[in-house]
Amino acid sequence: MNNIILILTGTLMHATPLLFAALGGVISESSGVMNIALEGVMTFGAFTGAAVAYVTNNAWLGFFMAGLAGALLISLHAIASITFRADQTISGTAINFLGPGLSLLLAKKMFNGSALSPTAPKLPILITKSLTEKWRGTPLENLNISVGVVIAFALVVLIWFLFYRTKWGLRILATGQHPAAVDTLGVNVYVMRYICVICSGVLAGFGGAFMSLSVTSSFSPSTVCGQGFIALAAVIFGKWTPHGVMFSCLLFGFAKECTTILGGEGAFIPPVLLEMFPYVLTILVLVLFVGKSSVPKANGVPYLRGAR
């Protein structure tokens, strides 16, 4: 029982930062803007979160400022890819260099030449101290879930509702499938895409901040360490749907947790090899279950009004 709780907590911890970023990816790619920039935005979010939380001593302020910082950074990608119709892979790649570069430069400026931030306050955990006291001795006392986890899963529900039950969601999805048709019905494709890309920046910023304010409690250059790219994989793997993305992030989080649990002392597989497991699993699952991926048709295609 105790083990199950531990695995559950670990899985949720590993899955949540990915889930934030991957939901961002879903929103932006559903509207037709490819978002390879998640990694850079997450890094910038992780830095902003830790820095603001450290300076103001308020984790929540750090978390929300990280979202704002993500929005600011990704708006460059939005301008390039929507207004200037740039190649979205290239402008996304640019953000992936700018994000870490800016974070490290500012970190060195703020923390006297060190790329590591001092310890920042963490986001609160869901179960308060008094409850943990009450559950002492039972397996539930290890139920150590951050509030951020709850926010991420609430966002899944929210985005699902937005996409499949509201007019706005329909417009977003249609913009990603056939922007010209949407345009003829009086919806401004550019505005829709701007909103979606900026939302994705906010979410990826949250994802980064969750890393630096909940999983760890400081920023270092290796805080994000490729998770943005894994989130990108989760978007494709989850077939561009909020619920699909949730399951793929959970699967990845579970695989990651397995490596920690199975990699203990006396494991019969070398721990280093075991660390490959989440990545091998992702490829295998893609081969076995996904097949032809269902990309939004206009994903990555710049829209020019009046072009045929």
Binding site: A80, F84, I95, L105, G113, S222, F229, A233, I236, L286
Partner: protein, 352 residues
């Protein structure tokens, strides 16, 4: 605007040059805002890269791996694939070179060439996995390549800690034999750069002078049309990922045999694959352009280190400038269009 000027300004290298200037300019504004002196910093950057023959030599040595990973990415771009997996293919090249360099005995030149060949083969197959999965199951090569990067990364660490290759008590591998090295006259001058240039020329020939190269480019430009004229898109995808992987593997093998000689413990990716992406983009995906853009990035990279030592300007500014350059390249359509517009209105005025 006279015809000659117009021709000059509409060339791709003009917009790239313009993007580089803009990148440094905006980067300078950044430095200024952070209380660093941009002009002095750029001066130190330039001196750190070119002021002594030793520095210039270093620029050439350091450029070898990124020219090749850039070539790998550029070649894949030309065939319509995004090889974000150059990092993992590079790592496989390093691993193969270390194993063969420490474990087997061969005569000098043959040993070196054998290592390069095997590294290219293994890394090529590593790259071809992503190509195969794309061709056979339609899985996006970006995702599989990223996963393969991580698998290669952990494989590297797995091999490094094997008792037959590790130095006792240290987290480094044994050094490779003398016979496997690509250095000349026992100095750090090495033939890596020349091998890289040969590889660039071979790829240039392949892409622009052979039927196969035409097929690759046709698939890259328009896979539907390519399929329609009877080009096998699937097998071309696999082959071009193989070639891209082989080039990145060559990069890793050369880095190891020519300047590193041993595997060291890595906490995170060295980033040569990612650097390859911007090398390729600044070269406008032309193989020969990769040599110049590789040298350019190698120069600002080694200059940035002395800039940090001399003036305490953080060398991360280089990442920001690089990001800005790539960003300005991505919107280069805008200034091309602007130039076209300006020259058009000028012409109209003349006609009036």
């Amino acid at each position: 605007m006279s015809k000659r000027y117009k021709k000059f300004f509409s060339k791709p290298y003009f917009s790239i040059l313009f993007a580089i200037i803009l990148g440094f300019f905006v980067g300078g504004i950044f430095l200024y805002c952070c209380n660093y002196n941009p002009i002095a910093s750029y001066g130190a950057l330039f001196r750190g890269a070119f002021s002594k023959p030793k520095y210039i030599l270093d620029v050439f040595i350091q450029s070898t791996p990124i020219i090749l990973t850039g070539l790998s990415v550029a070649f894949a771009f030309k065939s319509g694939l995004f090889n974000i997996g150059a990092e993992g293919q590079y790592i496989m090249g390093v691993v193969v070179a270390t194993i063969l360099g420490t474990q087997i005995k061969l005569p000098p030149v043959i040993h070196f060439l054998f290592i390069l060949f095997m590294a290219m083969l293994v890394s090529g197959l590593w790259g071809a996995i992503a190509g195969f999965l794309k061709a056979k199951f339609g899985i996006n090569e970006v995702v599989t390549s990223i996963m393969l990067n991580w698998i290669a990364f952990y494989f590297y660490r797995y091999i490094l800690f094997k008792p037959w290759i590790k130095v006792k008590g240290l987290a480094v591998s044994k050094a490779i034999c003398e016979s496997a090295r690509g250095t000349l006259f026992k100095t750090n001058i090495n033939i890596g750069f020349f091998v890289a240039v040969i590889a660039v020329l071979v790829i240039h020939y392949l892409l622009y002078k052979t039927t196969k190269g035409f097929e690759f480019r046709a698939v890259g430009q328009n896979p539907e049309a390519a399929r329609f004229v009877g080009i096998n898109v699937k097998s071309n995808t696999i082959i071009s990922m193989f070639i891209a992987g082989a080039i990145a593997g060559l990069s890793g093998a050369l880095r190891l045999t020519c300047s590193e000689f041993r595997m060291t413990n890595l906490a995170e990716f060295e980033g040569y694959g990612l650097k390859g992406i911007y090398v390729a983009l600044v070269a406008d995906c032309s193989p020969i352009g990769c040599v110049f853009s590789g040298l350019f990035f190698s120069a600002i990279r080694s200059g940035s280190i002395s800039m940090q030592i001399d003036l305490k300007t953080p060398c991360e500014i280089i990442n920001i400038i690089t990001g800005l350059i790539v960003f300005f390249i991505s919107i280069s359509v805008v200034y091309r269009r602007l130039i076209a517009k300006i020259s058009k209105t000028r012409q109209e005025k003349i006609h009036e």
